[in-house]
C-alpha cells in the first residue's frame, strides 16, 4: 500500500513523444551538421578521429554512422539538437510492417561500452515507458520480433550473435544501435573487433550516436515496425 501511494504521489513523467516533440534539456547529445566551409573544410575533416567527416570541393559531409561525439568539429560545424536519427539500413528503404501490435525485442550486447545498453535500459523507466507503445523486452530468441544489437561485434560475440539471429522466427528485423554497431566506432577495425553488425547480419534500421539517446532508440524501434518513416540524415550536406 505504501508503494502504491508513493507511486501515485510521483505523478506522470512520461514523455509525449512520439505524438509531440520532447523539449526537455539534456535528452540528446546532438550531432554535427555538414556545411560548406571552403578552404577550412579539409583541415576540419582531417581532425575527425573516426573519419565521420568527408570533404569534397570545400563542403563537409557527415557520415553519422561514424560520429562518436568527440566535439572536435565544434564550433566550426553547427550541431543539431534533435533525436529522430534512425535511418534504414543499406538498400532497405521505408519499412512497412508485418508487425501490427506488440513487438518483442531481444537486446544483444556484442561488445558495448555500457552506454548504449544503459540508454536502452532507460526506455523502461517512466520517462520513456516503451510499454505504452507496445514494445517489450524479451530474453528469448524464439519470442523475439526485433533483434537490437549494440557494440562493435567482438570476436567472442560473433558466434553467439549469429546463433541468436538464426534462432529467431521470421519475419524479423535487426536494429543496430550506436556508432560501434554501425561502424565499429573507436574500436574498428582491429584483430578483435569488426566494423559493426552489418558485416554479420542484414541490418534494417541504423540508429547513430555514441550512445544514441533513448529517444533516438525509440525512434529506431518505431522505424523498424513501420510506424515512423526513416530519417535521411546522411544524404545531404545540410543534414
Amino acid at each position: 500500500m505504501k508503494w502504491v501511494l508513493s507511486g501515485i504521489r510521483t505523478g506522470i513523467h512520461t514523455t509525449a513523444y512520439p505524438s509531440a516533440e520532447e523539449r526537455a534539456a539534456g535528452v540528446t547529445p546532438g550531432l554535427p551538421v555538414g556545411t560548406a566551409l571552403g578552404a577550412e573544410a579539409a583541415v576540419l575533416a582531417g581532425r575527425c578521429p573516426t573519419h565521420a567527416l568527408e570533404e569534397r570541393n570545400g563542403v563537409v559531409t557527415v557520415d553519422y554512422r561514424r560520429c562518436v561525439h568527440c566535439y572536435r568539429c565544434r564550433p566550426a560545424l553547427a550541431w543539431r539538437s534533435d533525436y529522430e536519427w534512425a535511418g534504414s539500413g543499406a538498400g532497405r528503404g521505408e519499412l512497412s510492417g508485418p508487425f501490427l501490435r506488440s513487438t518483442h525485442i531481444l537486446v544483444v550486447d556484442a561488445g558495448d561500452c555500457g552506454a548504449c545498453l544503459n540508454e536502452v535500459k532507460q526506455l523502461n523507466n517512466p520517462y520513456y515507458n516503451m510499454h505504452r507503445l507496445g514494445f517489450f523486452i524479451t530474453p528469448a530468441p524464439r519470442h523475439a520480433d526485433v533483434l537490437l544489437v549494440v557494440g562493435p561485434v567482438t570476436d567472442h560475440m560473433r558466434v553467439p550473435l549469429k546463433k541468436i539471429y538464426d534462432a529467431m522466427p521470421t519475419p524479423k528485423r535487426v536494429v543496430a544501435v550506436g556508432a560501434c554497431a554501425l561502424s565499429g566506432g573507436v574500436f574498428a577495425e582491429s584483430f578483435v573487433c569488426g566494423k559493426g553488425a552489418s558485416t554479420l547480419l542484414p541490418v534494417d534500421v541504423e540508429v547513430p550516436g555514441n550512445p544514441p539517446p533513448p529517444l533516438a532508440i525509440l525512434h529506431g524501434l518505431l522505424v523498424a515496425v513501420g510506424r515512423k518513416p526513416p530519417a535521411t540524415l546522411a544524404s545531404g550536406s545540410a543534414g
Binding site: W3, G26, Y71, C113, M157, F187
Partner: protein, 528 residues
Amino acid sequence: MNGAQLKEHIERTWPGQASCRLDAEARVNEVTCEPGALAALCGDLFHERGLAFGGLVVEEGREDWQLRYVFYGARDSGWVHVRVTAPLAQSVFPSIAAQAKVFAADWHEREAEDLFGVHFEGHPRLGDFVLHDDVWQEDVQPMRRGFDAATAMNNRLPDADWRPRRVVHESGAFMMPVGPKFSGVTESVHFQLETVGEDVIRSWTRLFYKWRAVEKLAEGKPLEDALLLAERFAATTAFAHGLAFCQAIESIAGASVPARAQTLRVFLAELERLRQHAGAIQEICESTALVVATSQAGLLEEELLRVSGALAGHRYLFGLLAPGGLAADLPGDACRKALAQAAGAVARLDELEGELAISSSFLDRIEEVGVIFPRTAVAYSLVGPVARASNLARDLRRMQPYSRYDAFAFDVPVEEEGDGYARLRVLFAEARQSLRIMQQAAADLEAGEVRAAVTPRPGAALGWAEAPRGATLHWVRLDDAGRVARYRIVTPSFTNWHSFHLAAEKFAFQDFPIILSTFDLSAAENDR
C-alpha cells in the same frame, strides 16, 4: 609505516636483492627487486604491511621484460612499485598469487600469461582467460610487440568439442549455464552455476566476451585519440577513466592543472558517481522485482543523465576532459543549476532509502545474501562500495588524494555486514557524500583558465581515480614522439569480479540476480 620507513625496512630485509628509490613528493617507492626475492617481498608488503595490491603492469622492452607490481596504502605509506626485469628469452617469473598467497594478483597473472605469453611459476590455473580456448589458437600473444593489431582475424571457428569444466560430480548434480545472452538488458557474460538442488555449490564466471583490446589499440596513438578510448571503453564511468588517464599524462609532462579545472573535475566526477549509484540502486530494486522502487530510482537516473547532458552537452560526459584540464569551461550558473537538481535527486534518494528500509519483503531478499567477509575483501584487495560494505575503508580520494579532493570535507561510508543490503546502504550514503562534495566544489569555483598547455615527453606514470565502482589505475608510457607506447588499465570491475564467485556460492539460485546487481559490476569495464 611511512614511505621512508618502508624503504628502510625493504632494504634492510633484502640487502643486495632489493633497492628502493623514494620519490617523497609523488609518494612513490620504486623497488628494484631480484626475481628470487619477489614473492617474499610482495608477500611482506601485502600480508605484513597491509598494503593493497593495485595491479600488475607488464612491459616488453627491446631486450627485457619489465614487470611492475603496484601496491598502495594509506596516505603516508603511499605507493610501492615493485619492479623485476628479466631478458626476453627468460619469460618465467614466480607467481606471487601462488607462492606468496597474494590472491589479488591471481587474475593479473592469468591475463599477462594469456596476452604476453609470460609464465608464472606455481600458478595452478593459467590459460583460457582473456582469449577463450575454444576460439583462439594457442600461440597467439596479442600484446607482444610486432603483433599486427590492425588486421581482422575473423577466420577462426569455435571448437565444437569445447565443454565447460565441471567440478561437482555428485549424483543428481547439474550445471546451469547462464549467458552470454541472458535476461533482459544485460551485458554479455557467461556464468556456470553448479548445484545438486537448491543452492549454488560452485559458481564460475567466464568473462572477456567483450574484449576490445583497448590497451593494444591505444599503442601508437596520439594522446587525444587514446583519450577517446579511455572515455569510451566503459562509458558508464567514462569521466573517472578519462580523468585517471589525463592525470597520468599530466604527471609525465609535469603539467599543473589550473585550479578552476581541478574543481570542475571534482564536480563532474561526483556528478558521475551520483548518477551511476542511482543506476546501481535502480538495478538492485529491479532484481528484487520491486516495481515502484525500480521506477522511482529509474526516474532519478534519467534525471541525472539529463542534468549531465544539459550541463556538459553529453549525457555520459564525453569530450569534456583534455590533458591539462578541460576542453571547455562550464559556466558557474550552469553548475549551480546542476547542483540544485542533484540536491533534489539526493533528497528523493533519501526518501527511497527510508521506504526500502521498512519494506520487509525487500529486506528478506537482500539481507544476508551474497556475503563477502572482511577477510575476503582484504585477501582480494577489493575496492569501491563492495569493499566498503565489508568494513574495508579504502577510497583513493582519501588514501591518495588527487585533483582537489584534499580541499573538500567528506566521509567514507563503511558498513560491516558485507551482504547485499550493506552494499545498497553504502551506495545511498555515498550519494549523499557526492552531493556534499559537489556543494563545496560549486561554492569554491574561482575564475580562471581551465586548461594548461601539455607538452608530451617520453616517460611513464601512473594515474588513478576513485571511479564510482572503485579504484581505477591507468599506467601510461609515452614514446619519443609523444605517442602512447603502453597503456595498462586496472578497473574496479576486474578487481571485484575476482571475488564475485564467493558471494554467489552457498546461496539459492533465485538469489543470484540479486547478488549480481548488488556488486554493480560492468563487463565492459572488466573486459576492456
